[in-house]
């Protein structure tokens, strides 16, 4: 299982492991299943770019974001 803290390049979010409040907090930042993000810096913290926005994500959170490589 590939998680965001280990990924590089362009990845698609498959799943977010966590309670509803946690998933909601991430969704408010645009991090939701189906979204494609680009990992800019592996950090930690991981820095990703989603559409026009850059977001810094702590390692603990990045570990709970399951991703797959986007073609």
């Amino acid at each position: 299982m590939l998680t965001l803290d280990l990924a590089t390049g362009r990845v698609r979010i498959k799943e977010i492991l966590g309670g509803r409040g946690f998933v909601r907090r991430l969704a408010d930042m645009g991090l939701a299943p189906g979204q494609v993000v680009e990992v800019i810096s592996k950090g930690p913290p991981v820095i990703v770019k989603i559409r026009d926005t850059k977001i810094a994500i702590g390692r603990g959170i990045a570990r709970k974001v399951v991703v797959e490589y986007a073609e």
Binding site: R25, L26, M29, I40, S41, G43, P44, P45, I47, R51, D52, T53, K54, I55, A56, I57, G58, R59, G60, I61
Partner: protein, 664 residues
């Protein structure tokens, strides 16, 4: 009036800004015909033509069913009614266009307005208006409602559409496999846009005859049987349309700003990012320190031989000016008022309290202002990110660096700055641990004690360094311990990194004021109450009792002078008072004289300095903590913990230094 213009947009597109700009305060509230909902309207004149401008409620989606949203929908369904001015939010093009094409499908008499062109320019995003015009079949104008650019052109285009000089051909999106069905429904309803709406499952046929309605329902069932939900198919084609539209009409040029952003980010997120961040924070701290008390700039100036500058900095620093002001007033009142207890309450209780509030407030303003500068410019988010790796070792996020840094200047705004932290748990942990950070007021007391009580320069600097190391360790350890109390032992960073830009003074001032005013509303009252309490305790002789008790606590170290106990008690109200209270009880302001009378040996002096550095800082900080934490239990825990730690540390350093110094 026939010339009606309707503003249609999603929330946050700048619709209200645009409306106010166009309305020139000619706006009034009117009832929507047949509804109880009120809308803003304005009569405006452009090139001699009267226009009625209607501000429709902002809607996020066409699925919304609220009373206000239904107005917007009702307007859209009346094809011939007025001109639609559809706003695109430049900050979120994709979402805005997805919304706008649905409006344009229904309204061919429309002008598309791309707002926030200032933002687009800054990001180097170029939009080809001709391509959009060609693909969407309407006039397109780019504006900045905030800066008022492009407004005249917009009004000209609106007039063109109103007077029929420009005829929009209407937007027709190809729905592929659904086209045959759309054609069938269109035949029944007489309108393509209504047909698409009907297949999407919207109640567009309120006025249709019974048999037509059944016919439409049957076509929908047919689609559902053959494919999936028609709504999903329609959404898919719309997404495709927006994607290809943006691909052909929007270009993000890497402007120099982008290059600068990449370079700066490379520094912040590289190996030396934390060093760079700390350098910025220290620069700010240096500035705040100097503005506040003149220190350390005055020392540097003196060192460089500019004595007049040094003196000026010391005398005309914020705290210098304010304390001079209050000393003058209380001196004047002292001479005028009759000598009764009320006068003493007024001067030493109330006026002293107001004076304390007045000394804190400018410092808080200055620190909040400097912090807002780096916050609004996008630098703060980078510093937080670069410091995150270090702080995550202690279950904190990199954002903690801000309350920590501010606390180095003054704990009160430091505690208040904990508000920027994301989760309640982290906020409380940091707020409660802040008093362990040595503030500037304490630093000055420590420096004076170190200079007058210790003789060896090596010992002097060694103690100051030791205190700062202990301070950082205690702060981090305390956040861990308080984490157990609030059941959140670690927090994680999740932070948007906005593009860098020069801070706008208006925004910075707005943030500064927003943060600082809560000091007046929530904390000032507490400080005043404590000041009156201190006066009462003094008046009824309670302070002496407590002072003697404190001195007893220190008798194991041989520090049993009640005047010292009294000074420590006063330091609870404000650390600076330790010095002035010693001066009063020894009858001299000459510190070398006082230290000669105290006749402390090195271990005693070290224990005293360590205790003064770490015991509960001041009532203002406690008041600030109360306003952030809102729990007397946690507050009491924090105060007791600080007293305990200070006492234990004093004992340990006393014993250790006794052993080391006798050995040496």
């Amino acid at each position: 009036m026939q010339n009606k213009v309707y503003l249609v947009a999603q929330p946050n597109s700048g619709k209200t800004t645009l409306f106010n700009l166009l309305a020139h305060e000619n706006c009034y509230v009117a009832n929507w015909p047949g509804k109880t909902v009120e809308v803003f309207q304005a009569k405006i004149v452009h090139h001699g033509k009267e226009i009625l401008l209607v501000d429709l409620p902002g809607i996020n989606s066409f699925k919304a069913l609220g009373k206000e949203e239904s107005l917007t929908k009702e307007f859209l369904l009346k094809e011939e009614e007025g001109v639609a001015v559809v706003l695109i939010n430049g900050e979120s093009l994709y979402r805005s266009f997805y919304f706008a094409i649905q409006v344009l499908e229904m309204k061919s008499k429309a002008v598309l307005v791309i707002n926030k062109s200032d933002y687009l320019e800054k990001r180097g995003i170029h939009i080809n208006l001709e391509t959009l015009k060609e693909k969407l079949g309407v006039e397109v104008v780019q504006i900045s409602a905030l800066h008022g650019t492009g407004i005249n052109r917009l009004m000209d285009r609106i007039l063109d559409v109103l007077e029929g000089r420009v005829k929009g051909k209407g937007l027709r999106i190809d729905y592929g496999i659904l086209e045959p069905y759309i054609a069938k429904v269109e035949e029944l309803l007489g309108s393509r846009s209504l047909a698409v709406r009907a297949i999407e499952g919207e109640e567009v046929f309120a006025r249709l005859s019974e048999d037509k309605r059944i016919a439409v329902e049957e076509i929908k069932k047919e689609i559902e049987n053959k494919f999936v939900n028609p709504e999903e198919i329609i959404a898919m084609y719309r997404h495709r349309f927006v994607e290809s539209l943006l691909n052909s009409a929007v270009k993000e040029v890497k402007v120099s700003e982008e290059a600068i952003e990449r370079k700066l980010d490379k520094i912040f997120f590289g190996r030396f990012g934390p060093v760079f961040s700390i350098a910025i924070l220290f620069g700010i701290l240096f500035l705040a320190f100097t503005i506040n008390t003149g220190f350390p700039m005055n020392i540097i100036a003196r060192f460089a031989g500019y004595d007049t500058i040094a003196e000026f900095l010391g005398k005309y620093s914020l705290s210098g000016i304010i304390s001079l002001f209050f000393e003058t007033i209380s001196g004047m009142l002292d001479g005028i008022l009759p000598d009764v207890w009320l006068k003493s309450l007024f001067i030493n209780g109330i006026l002293a309290g107001i004076g304390a509030v007045a000394t804190f407030f400018p410092l808080i303003l200055v620190l909040n202002f400097l912090m807002s500068l780096i916050e609004d410019s996008g630098v703060m988010a980078r510093i937080a990110t670069s410091m995150d790796r270090f702080f995550s070792l202690f279950g904190l996020t990199g954002k903690t660096v801000f309350p920590f840094t501010v606390s180095l200047a003054c704990n009160v705004p430091g505690v208040m700055a904990s508000r920027i932290l994301e989760t309640d748990g982290e906020r409380i942990r940091v707020a409660l641990a802040s008093p362990f950070v040595i503030c500037q007021a304490r630093l000055l007391v420590i420096v004076l004690f170190v200079v007058f009580l210790l003789t060896s320069p090596a010992l002097q600097s060694g103690i100051v360094i030791l205190i700062y190391l202990l301070s950082a360790t205690l702060f981090l350890a305390a956040t861990k311990i308080y984490g157990k109390a609030v059941k959140e032992e670690s927090s994680e960073l999740l932070l948007e990194l906005p593009p860098y830009h020069f801070p706008s003074l208006r925004v910075v001032w707005w943030i500064t004021w927003e943060r600082s005013k809560s000091f007046i509303y929530k904390i000032a009252g507490f400080i005043l109450a404590f000041s009156i309490l201190a006066w009462l305790m003094d008046y009824f002789g309670i302070t002496n009792v407590i002072g003697t008790f404190i001195a007893k606590m220190f008798s194991p170290f041989g520090l049993d002078d009640p005047r010292l106990g009294f000074a420590i008690l006063m330091g609870f109200f404000a650390k600076e008072l330790v010095i002035s209270s010693l001066a009063v009880s020894f009858g001299t302001s000459d510190l070398s004289e006082i230290s000669a009378q105290l006749a402390l040996n090195a271990p005693q002096a070290i224990a005293l300095i360590v205790f003064i550095a770490f015991y509960t800082p001041c009532v203002a900080t406690i008041s600030a903590m109360h306003s952030e934490v809102r729990s007397y239990k946690l507050l009491a825990m924090s105060v007791v913990f600080q007293l305990l730690i200070a006492y234990i540390l004093a004992s340990v350093t006393f014993i250790l230094s006794s052993i080391i110094l006798t050995a040496a």
